[in-house]
Chain length 121, copies 2
Amino acid sequence: MPWQLKNDRQIWLQLAQILTQRIVSGQYAPGVRMPSVRDLAAEAGVNPNTMQRALAYLEERGLVSAQRNTGRYVTQDAQLISDTRHALAQEELTLFCEKMRLLGFTPEETSQLLKSKGESE
Amino acid sequence: MPWQLKNDRQIWLQLAQILTQRIVSGQYAPGVRMPSVRDLAAEAGVNPNTMQRALAYLEERGLVSAQRNTGRYVTQDAQLISDTRHALAQEELTLFCEKMRLLGFTPEETSQLLKSKGESE
DNA sequence: ATCGTTGTATTAGTATATTAATACAATAAT
DNA sequence: ATTATTGTATTAATATACTAATACAACGAT
């Protein structure tokens, strides 16, 4: 899975989002050890400090915890992961609907467009 | 309509997006004169240079055209406006679906969530 | 005991975004 | 003719993001 970073948003925010996605989607399973800060940074092509900031953000949310010398681990709290997943989905849903509304689409039209897109793939 | 600017993306990009939304949604009708750069900047609480950059972006797309001394006008090309509107909608749609996919939701689940949201409002 | 890896912290340097302060040419209004 | 407003351009200053280069303490592995 590539680290597709754009320059239109702060790098650490994008990193935090990608890391979170990997956790809630199960790509980083509960309880497993994550790659080291330096490895993740190298993989993503960013400075370790920037990756560290992203990881600190996840730590604030309880999604990961750092063991000072052995590494960093994904939380084992499946409920928290699930809650986070659904909260993020709702957030995306709300933002998407608002954008479509501002473009002049009704909720019905938006729903229809999404359905059409799904069927065409 | 407020100018709700965040600091997680470049200001001029946000301004350009809002201005575009106002045009494609008909809030700024085809052919009408827009407020001056300075007025728009004051209204949005940004520097005139920043607003100018956003407007230059719209001008590149042909959505507005500047009459050197009388002001700036929305294009009269209704087709261009319509095309832009649908292109932006498709773009939002694609981005949204991709984000939901990365969160671990299938297209069907995503479609269902959107439908539920619409019905609950 | 030594070495390497871990997370974390600090300081400085660089690049970029935004603001600030003007300036200018063109023209409509007076 | 003068004045005010228009879009546009320029230069400097400031704030912030990111990188770079280290350093340190803790601990497992050898």
